[in-house]
């Protein structure tokens, strides 16, 4: 504890960049609130300015990231918050959270610049900035209290974004979203407190520090399983896993476009990241014990999401259900509890953020132009908007998991991992990839092919600005598909350390490494990656 604090103090002599990532958007939001209402166009510019500052800082962190020590938390920043409870404002970044932080920092400015607020821009952009601060906080927090604060705070801006700027049954969707997620996290709070106080009973120190709690592992096995369950429920709702996913289609469909983009690209990752950082890391034994159940739910989610997506008539709802399926891959990868699975899971978090974020953006633009998202009313858009169709095609193929694009790398790694751990589930999950091709290609065919009639014939193509906005997505999709090594090598030490942590703390547990089982004949993790590159 002492040494940790000292280390943190030593680090805080330099600029507390992680705190800045969280606080800067809040300052932006407050600035917006203080601006007079007579120049509404300024709000968007200012919000973009603040979020791109955050983006720039995240990129700087990425370049400054010490890959050799990717398993350690870097740029740590710690201040006492509530002394009597041992709570501190403690932030840090490692190889696992790095990419999610970068993803968040990149997606937000894009979502802000890409879509204009339909009304009351001041509050709209202020909420978006607060949402960014909350998401950043979740990915950076190393204190359970701070984590919970951020995990909860993101609900508020999202609730208002859906409720105030949404479409259709927005109030219903916002409320459903809120109740589901808050109910999940309500029990997690009791879990967090139980963990801290039971840990205090064993070790004599009351702390909410993630690292200390994870390293001490002082809690009895059965109790830890119960507490894990309370965490898992919160994350399962957020992911969302199969039986508690029903808020997602409603929220996505009725949310404003920027809301959908952020919900898909960043907010769903709060759950999967939570599973990794606050599930597997904090409760290794319980994670191993519950892994089969969670993999089962993930697999059901893959198949169910894919089938449900196939049957949707609303393009946005289709993409929403495809999210359920994609998130299922992340969960089965994570709970394969081997390097490939977890790396694939993290990679897939980023991939899903890129491809589904871009898909929601494109669907939003279609809606702006045609004022409908019904697949049956669209058709032949390829003729008036060939460029649009091309971009849509690339993004969609990435979502399907076409080799050479990013989706393939992630799905492939998760499936390798899952195959080693739970062979038959992986077989079932793999068929989800095929169904994904089915519903996405079919949707593409119905929307873009065929004769363009009525308003469809005059749909505007992608503007230059829109093309510029799509450029980072396309770059990420292609780059990570062709050359994922820089991404993987930065997360690998952290993932390895996590697996060692699990193996160390769980008796009789050995990570099911693919090499040991035979179906994949490579020796290490690099092998799997280089095999990737050959495609």
């Amino acid at each position: 504890m002492q040494s940790l604090l000292l280390a943190a103090e030593g680090g805080s002599a330099s600029f507390p960049v992680l705190s800045a990532l969280v606080i800067l958007p809040v300052i932006g939001a407050l600035t917006l609130l203080l601006l007079p209402n007579n120049r509404p166009e300024n709000f968007k510019q200012l919000a973009f300015l603040f979020s791109s500052l955050v983006g720039a800082m995240a990129i700087w962190i990425l370049t400054d990231f010490d890959t050799a020590h990717a398993a350690d938390f870097q740029h740590q920043n710690s201040h006492t918050w509530i002394e009597s409870l041992g709570i501190s404002w403690h932030l840090g970044i490692d190889g696992i959270s790095l990419w999610l932080v970068v993803l968040t920092a990149v997606i937000f400015p894009i979502a802000i610049i890409a879509i204009d607020a339909e009304h009351t821009p001041k509050a709209y952009y202020a909420w978006l900035l607060i949402l960014e601060a909350g998401c950043m906080g979740v990915f950076l927090a190393l204190d359970l209290f701070a984590f919970f604060v951020f995990f909860e705070i993101v609900l508020i801006p999202m609730y208002f974004l859906i409720g105030q700027w949404g479409h259709g049954e927005r109030a219903y969707a916002a409320t459903k979203f809120f109740i589901y997620t808050m109910f999940g996290s309500a029990l997690m709070l009791v879990g967090i407190l139980s963990l801290a106080f039971l840990n205090q009973a064993e070790t004599g120190v009351l702390t909410f520090n993630l690292i200390e709690l994870a390293e001490s592992q002082a809690i009895a096995t059965t109790t830890a399983r119960w507490i894990f369950l309370s965490f898992a429920l919160a994350f399962a709702v957020k992911v969302p896993l199969f039986p508690v996913h029903t808020w997602l289609p409603d929220a996505h469909t009725n949310a404003p476009t920027a809301g959908s983009v952020i919900l898909a690209a960043v907010m769903l990752k709060l759950g999967t990241y939570g599973f990794l950082r606050f599930g597997v890391y904090l409760f290794p034994e319980a994670a191993v014990w519950f892994a089969p159940a969670l993999v089962t739910l993930g697999t059901i989610g893959i198949i169910y999401g894919a089938i449900a997506a196939t049957m949707q008539r609303d393009l946005k709802r289709l993409v929403a259900y495809s999210s359920v399926a994609h998130l299922g891959f992340i969960v089965i990868g994570t709970f394969a509890l081997n390097t490939e699975g977890i790396e694939g899971g993290i990679l897939q978090m980023v991939n899903h953020g890129l491809s589904t974020g871009a898909l929601f953006l494109l669907v939003g633009w279609i809606y702006d132009r045609r004022h409908t998202r019904e697949i049956s009313e669209l058709g032949g858009l390829q003729k008036p908007a060939p460029f649009f169709a091309g971009v849509f095609m690339v993004v969609m193929l990435s979502s399907i998991g076409l080799p050479g694009l990013n989706g393939f790398v992630g799905e492939f790694l998760t499936l390798i991992g899952a195959f080693a751990a739970h062979r038959w589930w992986a077989v079932v999950a793999a068929s989800g990839v095929i169904i994904a091709a089915l519903y996405l290609l079919w949707a593409y065919q119905r929307v873009f092919h065929g004769p363009a009639e009525g308003e469809n014939a005059t749909m505007k193509d992608l503007t230059f600005k829109e093309a510029l906005i799509m450029a980072p997505f396309l770059f990420g999709i292609v780059f990570m598909g062709v050359y994922p090594k820089p991404v993987i090598e930065r997360m690998e030490p952290a993932v390895e350390a996590l697996i060692e942590h699990v193996e160390f703390h769980v008796e009789d547990f050995e990570s099911p490494r693919p090499g040991h089982l035979g179906p994949v004949d490579d020796h290490g993790d690099d092998g799997a990656v280089s095999e990737e590159d050959d495609h």
Binding site: T80, W81, I82, E83, S84, L85, A123, F145, F148, V149, F150, E152, I153, I156, Y159, F160, G163, Q164, A171, A174, T175, F178, I179, M182, F183, A186, L187, L189, V190, L193, S194, F197
Partner: protein, 577 residues
Amino acid sequence: MLGQLPTPPVETPDVVWSALSPILALAVGAILLIMFRSIVKRMPEEYDATLTMLVGPVTVLAMWIVGGLVGTDVPLADLRDDVGEPAFYIGLALVLIVSALFVKALEIGFDAAFTVGVGLVSFAATVVVWQQHFRAQPITEEEFLAGVAPDFGGPIAAFGTQYGVDGFALVFGGVIALAVVLSALLFDDYLRREGIDGAEMYVLLMLSAAGGLIMAGSNDLIVLFLGLETLSIAVYVMAAMHTKRTESLESGLKYFILGAFSSAFLLYGMAMIYGATGSLNLVGIRIYLESVIILDNAMLLAGFALLLVGLGFKVAAVPFHAWTPDVYQGAPTPVVAFMASAVKAAAFAALVRVFYLAFIDFRDDWQPVIYAMAVLTLLVGAFLAIVQRDAKRMLAYSSIGHAGFILVGVQAATERGVASVVFYAAAYTFMVVGSFGVLSVVSGRGDRASSLDDLNGLNRRSPVLAFALTLFLLGQAGVPLTTGFVAKFEVLSAAVDARSYWLAVIAMISAVVSAFLYLRIVLSMYLGTVDEDAEPISVHPTAALAIGVALVLTIGFGLVPGPIDQLANDAILALAG
């Protein structure tokens, strides 16, 4: 620990007047105001304005002087020595002028200004008493070399053993004094709008608060009863003060009858306790219970039960809550703000004081009862609030729910539990004063527009009020970065620390249910439609000040909860010591 307290003198109790100064300030203030108003019914306009303006500097001076009377030296003496006397007095003069101008800018009436001043003086006295008794007194180098031990202060018995001045009582006293200040600011706007003349409301407010302070520090059941009655009778009258509105009269009458009923239960409970232990003094009771093995404790348990009924009524715990919605709906809104904040805080202070200080050895007997009450209170408060159509009625049920949360902390019966009660009561006080403050302004003349539908589209009529109410409701919902969240966190910590996991789970479920409700209201403020003829709402500066202060405290201590947390924890140590 208890032996260190002075043995009770039989003849004349030792009175430490300085430690009683917060109560004296309120009581003397009330008497001065009623005497002044009974002589001078109405003053010419220009005198009135000048006199009101003078209240500002007089308050500042009074705070300074009272601080000097209570403490060993006048406040800011260090600063005076540092900057030199001339500079210090020039600065003081500037502060006096600024305070006069500030009062003028507030456009506040004399009575309200006077009450605010008295509240501030009481608060200042509380702070000084706190420093006297709970801070390590700095000792000089010579004293140190001479072997004088530093005086760390500590709880003292201020009136024989009947009244204890300890951190617990002082924190509650400070909270109640601030509630007086904020309520008086809200009263000013309300009374003027409703055309109610006279200083009675303010006098009653101060008397009632004095009763609350007595309750918070009572170390004797009879003193507790006196404090409770002083507090309650004043509030009964305040609830019925708007004589032109039948709802107000009805609410006052209802409150009075049910309140009298509960007082009877409380008295009967005290009699039982006396019968079982032979003492009404909390210290005496505890010494008796520690030293004697009671073979037949039926009378003691009956005493517990009756005390719980009486105090449960005051804190509006289920099943003794039925009066709350009716009274809250009918009574003038600023009075409700005071009832939900100061009265509730004082009642919880008394509850914790009696059960934690005197009956801690019997916690196995009363904990389960409070557990059950907490569960019922949480669930009733959360679920019945959903179906309400009236904003005040809804907030009444939500205040029942909050009482449930505080009971979760009481139930823990640990130091952490008591600290969480202090924290929650303080945090809730400011949130609820703010919420009712906004409602008071919105509902307009005669409190007519107090239905939830009247909040629809509030954002169009007054964005600032809508924003303030949003934050207060989010705070009540327990959204992070407000005091409401930290308060819930503390209470749940206490419950989990005491291994009451299921109670914590039930509390969180009820928190989710009520969060749904608050957010629905918030959304309707931003989405709802407004009538074309609905006028924009103008906020009187006094009401704006009250709401603003409550807002700053709710958000500020939500972001930086450390100071209140520290205060709450210090308060515990003092209670036990």
